[in-house]
Amino acid sequence: MSSSAAENASKKITLRSSDGEVFEVEEAVAIESQTIKHMIEDDCADNVIPLPNVTGKILSKVIEYCKRHVDAAASASAAKADDKLASASVTDDDLKAFDADFVKVDQATLFDLILAANYLNIKGLLDLTCQTVADMIKGKTPEEIERHSTSRMTSLLKRKRKSEERTNGLLSRTATKIMKFSVLSSSIGGI
């Protein structure tokens, strides 16, 4: 914590995923994650930071995201210093394009990314991934949402629904028969 800026800049942090994969990243990239940042600040991360809740595959993606955003932030501030507004906006667009591509993954990976971003406390990634899931849900009817999550379930449910419709239909038909029957009997009885 008292080390000079130069030392901090080149300091590497080692992260270990749940399945034993080890990643070495620059500190600037690692502290995108508030969780890791606090661990470093509290000085309990001497050698390797274990991340038992994140698999190697997901961790590599998260690191890619953080790295890209750290680079973009650095170039944006450099551009501002040089007063090159045009290039700053270009990197902005690039970043947006990167983000859009980043979340084009299968649903399981997306959920894993959300959980990882939540655990590692990376606000940008969490918002991005949650927004992606929200966009998937947006504008769908309940059946579609359900279908989105379930596939075999729906066919099972359909069969059950059909059988209950049949039972209901049967009961209502017999009910009308009763009505007619009782009307008839009462009219006969009346005479």
Binding site: F111, V133, K138, I145, M153, L157, T167, L170, T174
Partner: protein, 598 residues
């Protein structure tokens, strides 16, 4: 007793079934220790694949086999009860299983699910809530209802829905939009088109009857009554306390009292938009000035255009005193007088955006001498579309005299353009970036208000653009013509929509197209400047079917700089003038550059 009857049931119908009765599992493999009821139910459920008719007939036969009426009634009643119990059990199990399945597929815990739901619009939250019990639970969290948007195209929402959602939101409520908006894209663009919607005119209100007495209940029907905002006041005013934005559209039953009460419960209100409510301007403004000191944006569109003359001077003074943060003010369709308007424009120190479109009795005098240190100095946008009494000669003179260092846009009607342009040339309006001289009635000539022309001379336009390269000029005159711009075809222009797609295709800074005006006036056309050399412009020649009010481009003597001409539809030629759709000025104004054509 019931069980014994049950035990007797399958004995009779089973052999009579046509379907081959062999069950997939031979009896020997059945669990001998199985509860007899379970066994029975299982074998009954294996019948479920048989046709309903067979079951029906079988039931009839059982019924007939009973001798006495009371027995028959018993059987029927039992069938009913058992059938319902079975249905309920099946439904419950299905829901439980769906939830379990969703729990497997949907890997997020409830706090993250709530976070996802908080990014959804209100309609999607409701849909998600209907899916399974886990989502239902998550969707009941207050965070999902922070921004409630219940605007619909036709009446679909009633008080119950509003009240439920506001209660769910509790003190997390930040934004509430309610009512009937005829065309959602219109509202979102903040255009100058009127959002007032009369249900009498609508042909979409299916199943809605004015004579429906039940609608007074507000329960079964789809009407928002005057007490629809009551939940804001309820619960000690907690929901309304932190509400920032309130947009109400066309709630016909709202009245002054109810509205005033609701507003009084919202002290943190920043953005208030009211369109088509039957509330009086004066009372509304008084409520606002009493209760909402932090307000920054006020947008009122009258439901009775031009007939609300209630604004009084004390009200204006109160408003100005109590609401100093107001930066955006729009009062459309009211009868406003210059004196009062002047108080408003002068008094709000932070006022940047002013819109008095479709106002009656405004003459423009209120602009006199404003724009300097007296007031109105931060004004960026001034819209005075379709103000029928706007006096032109006086007006432009006043405007020319005034100094508006920050005036970025200037939309007006009935202006004598060249005079205005000369005043701009003279150095006024240094920050003017956008000039819109659109006029539905054509431009009034210098001396005669009634003589309209649709093609004002734009002699000074060239000079103007030379001197002020950042200027954006828009002149939108109603005419039938269409203009062909290179990548755009006339069919695009004639399309009826508000063309949000056109605006979004505005990637280059070159052009933005105005949508066709809603009314086409036949005008006496003079086809533009006769003294224009026209031969050297391909673009000019393309538009051979000249729209009325078409202004030909002018070439300066060196042949270098082309000055833009404005067609009837306000389409920009690629001379480096950008035109913004009158209603779209709220979108970022694109810088204009003059370009040189060899």
């Amino acid at each position: 007793m019931d069980t014994s009857l049950l035990l007797h049931r399958p004995a009779a119908p089973k052999p009579k079934l046509k379907r081959p009765c062999c069950s997939p599992f031979p009896d020997s493999t059945r669990n001998p220790n199985q509860n007899p009821l379970d066994a029975l139910l299982e074998s009954f459920l294996e019948l479920s694949d048989s046709s309903a008719i067979a079951l029906d007939l079988s039931f009839d036969r059982v019924l007939e086999s009973k001798a006495y009426d009371s027995d028959k009634n018993d059987v029927i009643e039992r069938a009913w009860r058992l059938g319902s119990a079975l249905t309920e059990a099946a439904k419950r199990s299905a829901r439980r299983r769906a939830s379990m399945h969703n729990a497997v597929v949907w890997a997020l815990p409830s706090d993250l699910t709530i976070k996802v739901f908080s990014m959804l619009d209100t309609q999607s939250v409701c849909h998600a809530a209907a899916t399974c019990s886990f989502f239902h639970k998550c969707a009941a969290d207050p965070l999902c209802y922070s921004n409630i948007d219940l605007t619909t195209v036709v009446p679909k929402v009633n008080n119950m829905v509003v009240s439920t959602m506001i209660q769910r939101a509790g003190k997390v409520l930040r934004s509430l939009k309610l009512g009937v908006v005829p065309c959602p894209t219109v509202a979102s663009l903040g255009s100058s088109q009127s959002l007032v919607y009369s249900m009498r005119n609508s042909s979409d209100t299916s199943g809605f009857s004015w004579n429906d007495k039940r609608s007074r209940q507000g329960k079964e029907s789809f009407i928002l009554t005057r007490s629809c905002l009551a939940p804001l006041i309820a619960d000690g005013g907690a929901p309304g306390a932190l509400l920032r934005r309130l947009h109400l559209y066309n709630i016909e039953r709202m009245d002054n009292t109810a509205f005033g009460a609701a507003v009084s419960a919202c002290p943190s209100l920043l953005d208030l938009e009211i369109v088509g409510l039957h509330v009086e301007l004066r009372q509304t403004l008084e409520s606002v000035s009493r209760s909402c000191p932090l307000i920054e944006r006020l947008f009122f569109e009258s439901s009775k255009t031009g007939r609300d003359d209630s604004l009084k001077l004390p009200t204006c003074n109160d408003l100005v005193t109590n609401c100093p943060n107001l930066s955006s003010l729009a009062l459309r369709g009211f009868k406003l007088h210059d004196v009062k308007v002047r108080v408003l424009v002068k008094g709000f120190r932070k006022l940047k955006f002013v819109d008095f479109s479709t106002s009656y009795s405004i003459t423009g005098d209120f602009l006199r001498n404003l724009g300097g240190s007296i007031g109105g100095s931060l004004l960026e946008v001034l819209i005075l579309r379709d103000c029928m009494h706007l006096r032109e000669a006086q007006y432009t003179a006043k405007v020319a005299q005034g100094t508006y260092p920050c005036l970025l846009e200037y939309l007006l009607d009935m202006a004598e353009v060249s005079r205005l342009l000369s005043s701009i040339l003279a150095g006024r309006f240094r920050n003017l970036r956008h000039l819109d001289v659109s006029n539905r009635e054509g431009l009034a000539s210098d001396d005669d208000w009634y003589r309209r022309c649709f093609t004002p001379s734009f002699m000074s336009l060239r000079e103007l653009l030379e001197e002020r390269p950042n200027l954006c000029v828009l002149a939108d005159f109603p005419a039938e013509g269409s203009f062909v711009e290179e990548p755009m075809t006339s069919s695009d222009l004639n399309s009826d929509t508000n063309s949000p797609s056109l605006s979004s295709s505005r990637t280059s800074d070159e052009y933005v197209l105005a949508s066709p005006s809603d009314s086409s006036y036949s005008s006496d056309q003079s086809s533009g400047n006769e003294d224009t050399p026209s031969s050297s412009y391909p673009i000019h020649e393309e538009s051979s079917d000249e729209p009325h009010g078409y202004l030909k481009p002018q070439l300066d003597s060196s042949g270098q700089q082309l000055v833009t001409a404005v067609s009837a539809w306000g389409c920009a030629y690629s001379y480096g003038c950008t035109f913004v759709l009158p209603g779209q000025f709220l979108e970022p104004i694109i810088e204009v550059t003059t370009c040189n054509y060899g």
